[in-house]
Each structure stands twice: as C-alpha cells, then as structure tokens.
Amino acid sequence: MKALCWHGRNDVRIDNVPDPTILNPRDAIIKVTATAICGSDLHLYNAFIPTLMEGDILGHEFMGEVVELGSEVKNLKKGDRVVVPFTIACGQCFFCKKTMWSLCDNSNPNAGMAEKMYGFTPSGLFGYSHLLGGYAGGQAEYVRVPFADVGPYKVPKGLRDDQVLFLTDIFPTGYQAAENCDIQPGDTIAVWGCGPVGLFAMQSAYMLGAERVIAIDRFPERLQMAQQFGGAEVINYEQVDVGSTLKEMTGGRGPDSCIDAVGMEAHGMTLDNLYDKGMQMARIGTDRPHVLRQAIMSCRKGGTVSLPGVYGGLLNMLPIGAAHAKSLTFKMGQTHVHRYLPKLMESIEKGKIDPSAIITHRVPLSDAPEAYAMFKNKTDGCVKVVMTP
C-alpha cells in the first residue's frame, strides 16, 4: 500500500510499504477514506519528537471503512464506517474504566521507554514515535487498529467524512481544553493559538456556557477564522501587549481561564538533554514557553490554566510564584477522545457545529509531502489539510 513515511527532518515521502495485517484478536484493519495532518505532526516533521525511525508511517487523524476484523471484535462488522480515536485504549484497565482513556496502562508496547522519560507510560498513539507505541499511522491506504472493540466509533448515515474526521483528535482536544476550564456563567476564556485545536476550544467554550472568548495569535487569516468560526474577539500579539490588553478587556479582572493551544516541542530522550535543548531553543528565540508564562501571568486569581498544547520535557523559568500566589489550577494531558465521541458526534448530527469549516486545503494523499511543507510554513493561508488516499 501507499503510506506517508518519515525519513528525517523536513523529509516525508510517499512509500510503498507492506499492507498491515491482524496481529491480535482485538485488532481491525481500516481502509482509510480521509486523513488529516495535525499540528502535532509538525513536531515529528521537525524531528523534535525522540524515538522516530526512518520509515515510520505518520498520521493519527484518520477514518475509514472496516475491511478486516480480529476474532474478538464483536461490535463491528466489515463495511462499517468509523472514526478512530488517536489515543489507543484497552477499555479494561484502571484508567480506561475511569474514562481516562489517554492514560491507558496497556496499549503502549514500548511502555518501558516511556517510563524512563515520564515515570509511567501514557496510552499508545497512532503514528507518533516509538516512545508512544510505534504503531503505524493513518496517513496511508490501510491501518491496523488495536483494541478495535473499544476505539472506532460508527458514523451515522448522512454525515460526510469531512464533517466527522476531526472527532479523531482536534475537536475533542479543543472540547476537553474548554471542559477543563470548569466554565461558569459570565466567564471569559482566553485562548492562545488560533490553529485547529484553538478554534475548536473557542467553539467548545461557548458550547459549555462561556460569556466571551478572546483569541490570541499573529496570523491575520487565523485571527479572522477565530472571529468567524470561533466567535472570538481577537488580539494580535505582535501589535499590542497581551497581558495589559486582556486586563483592560476584562474590566481589570483578567480572563477567568486561559487555554494554551500552542504547546511546546519535546527535545530529546533524557531529561538533561531536554533541558539543554530547551535552553538552545530559547536562545534562537522561540516564543512557545512564553505562551504558558503569559497565560499564568494573565489569568485571574483562582482561575484555571488549561493546556491542550503538547509539552514534552522540561520548562525553564516558569513563574510558579505567580501561579501559587493566585491559586491557579492547572489541567493538561492528551485527550480522552473516547469520552467525548458520543456527545460531539451528536452535536455535529444536530447541526450545532460544522467542523469542516476550518478546512483550507483538500489534497490527495500522494501530495502529502508538499502539504506538510505548506502547513509547516503556513503558506497559502493553510490552517487544516485533509487528504484522501
């Protein structure tokens, strides 16, 4: 089959690779009908995630048709159209039973590697490094889905692929970010980053009862999308001081909760290496740790800082004193996608939200290498790329 394979920094190619096969009784094989490039795929593209290997198949936002089933998968049949959560979960461990699906104890075959880095392993992910499982991703014609009796969610008739594809990651990720803010009537939510996750966090904040959403970015087309799709007031951080502007816009109170939908890239296998590379990054002027610092400083007293953006290693110069003095709450983590699928599928079915509105580019899978470069460099107003094999 054809698949998008990683070959090194800024080097992804369409390769011919062997088709996946059923390895375990709870596996399924999905024929991919639509797949997207995620902002977090750029961490891989930029070679910032450790334990990538040449030839790794990327992609964790994908959906398709069931073509083969292991003997223990009873709830699906061939021909079913499904969306597949990017987090792989067994459904039976302590964490899955508590709906903390992205913390599944059992789905990462390389748990030992993750334990070295984090003390414990999170769940395995599709196409997201060997540290997180080494599972082949979905930017391919076919993909093997482990624990298929737990993850894949059937798509109701009448919904198009592009309407439901983002249920695999970015819509639930934005939703969880907003839910983590414990939104109360009258709340103002500030969202850093107007990429796809930020945009869904804005929509979700309103779904959960926010009074106002304020979005922060610097790209005009993204700020425009935040206004149109996210219903947000916007701040261009290149033009004004974010902290004082937020304070003024909220009558001196500060936003009730702050969402960092930017995150920071991971930089190495060992903690000290991560630290060193983090320092290196700071010298070349990345503004990413800056977002979290700004969110902490801007948030109102007793508010929540919610981090859907991915952090990988260590942070330098975190204003923990401000966080402590203001009694802030921090909520973070990979998304418990399975938890949100029924609710969010229903919101799409009822027409409350049309996720396809954020798609700026639709290309065949064969154009994926060019699409990665475009998405990375944010050329041609690129916000979200959907590909069809």
Partner: protein, 258 residues
C-alpha cells in the same frame, strides 16, 4: 551454548576452581597473593565475550564501537589474568564458592493488576502459563504437584535449564520456589498476591534471588545483550498484567511501524 557443553565446562571449571583455591591458600600463607579474584567459568566467559566485543566494537567503526572494543579489551585482560579491579575495589571474589552471598542478584518488583488475587494466583500457579508472559522462558513443564522443569533462553542465543520445586504454596496469597541442586542457574523466588485497596485489583510482589553463571559480570554481559534481569522482570510483569486485563499483549511486531 548447549546444555552438554555448559555442563562439561562447569565440570572443568570446578577442577580449575579447586586448583586455584589451593594456589590462593598457598599464596595467602606466604603473604604474596590475592590477585586472582575471578572464578573459572567467569574467566572463560570474560575471554570469549571480551574477544567478541573487541571484534564487534572495531567493526562498528564509530566512537561507540571503540568504547565497546575497549570494554572488550578490559574483559579479555580480566579473563586472562583472573584479576578484576572492579571486584577488587568492591571486595568481591567469585573464584571461591564461599563468596556466593556477594555474587547473588536480588530483585524485587511489583505491579497492580485489575483482577482478584484468586484469579492472578490461579494463573500463576499453573506454571505452564509462565512462558506466556516471561519472555526469557521457553517452557515450564510441570512434573509433579511441587516440581517442574524450566528451560530459559541464555544470553547469546543459548539455553539454560533447571528443575525447581515449590516450597511454599498458600492459595491466593503466596508461592515460593527454589531450584533443585545441580541446576545450571541457582535461583529462588517468591510471589505474593495482595488485594489492592479500593477495588484496584491485586498487587503482585515478586522477589527473585539468583546466581548467574558468571556472577556480577554475568549480569553486566546480559545487560549489554538486552537481557538485564531487573528490566526483564519488570517487562514480564507488565505482560502478565496486559494478558490478564485485556486478553492479549499489545505489539507491532511483523508489520510496518509508525
């Protein structure tokens, strides 16, 4: 290394050991000795693996390869002279059977499995289940209610085997075993099954004590070849948990990766 070969070497080594013992006693008496602190089999393994590491290291043509080759050189010297500076610093000698306590490896590991102590105990008590999650085991044949024959993979592609007996069997709570005399690898262990609080299932506490063929160095070599016992037991317990909780062990073996 085949079983027979191993036994043959062991027998030869015992002869050498006895000779060394006499020599050392003699040298201790005339106040000159204490140089040989590495046992017979271990010296043989030092020489063989040292040479192998030198060849492998040099063939890598890299800094890491050079480092391996120099480790190999050290091992070769150690095997040839029977003297190990590390052992000497640590006051360890494996050239005498009386030093068994110092060369043993002791490992304690635990994991929580979302099943009742009864279920986990029963799975474990059927010893033929062990190779399903203990990666280094090829087979465990149950011989009687308390005795069994174990076959394990050894470093560098060989086999080692031993007979074991169960010495404690408290249903749903504890199993303890030890190898029978004349085993390739002397070992003993116990596993306790304790109910975890708040319905979290069963805590499995494993203790293993064993005396690898080449003492502390054996573990070092095993580590180089990815069969380090402590990591091995951690991985084994994780596989057990996964097998019991999900019915399968997650893998990506044998297909494209990502």
């Amino acid at each position: 290394m085949s079983d027979t070969l191993f036994r043959q070497e062991a027998a030869e080594a015992l002869q050498r050991k006895s000779a060394e013992h006499q020599a050392r006693q003699a040298s201790a008496e005339n106040g000159t000795g204490g140089d040989t602190n590495v046992g017979g089999i271990e010296r043989l393994i030092s020489v063989t693996s040292g040479s192998a590491l030198i060849l492998y290291g040099l063939s890598r043509r890299s800094a890491g390869g050079l480092a391996l080759a120099s480790v190999g050189g050290g091992l070769l010297l150690r095997g040839a002279t029977g003297h190990c500076h590390v052992y000497s610093k640590l006051k360890i000698s494996t050239s005498d059977a009386s030093s068994k306590e110092t060369r043993g490896i002791h490992i304690e590991k635990s994991i929580t499995i979302g099943k009742s102590p009864e279920e986990v105990y029963q799975f474990w008590r059927n010893l033929s289940n062990l190779p399903r999650f203990m990666d280094h085991l090829k087979a465990v044949d149950v011989i009687s209610e308390t005795t069994s024959h174990w076959v394990a993979k050894a470093p560098m592609g060989g086999n080692i085997s031993w007979d074991a007996e169960i010495i404690v069997d408290e249903p749903n709570a504890r199993i303890a075993w030890r190898s029978l005399p004349d085993s390739d690898i002397e070992n003993a262990g116990s596993v306790r099954f304790v109910e975890a609080p708040g319905g979290r299932g069963c805590e499995v506490h494993v203790t293993v004590q064993y005396y690898p063929p080449a003492g502390v160095l054996g573990a070092t070599i095993a580590k180089l070849f990815g069969e380090e016992p402590s990591i091995q037991i951690t991985d084994d317990l994780r596989r057990l948990k996964r097998l019991l909780e999900t019915g399968e062990i997650p893998t990506t073996e044998g297909q494209p990766h990502g």
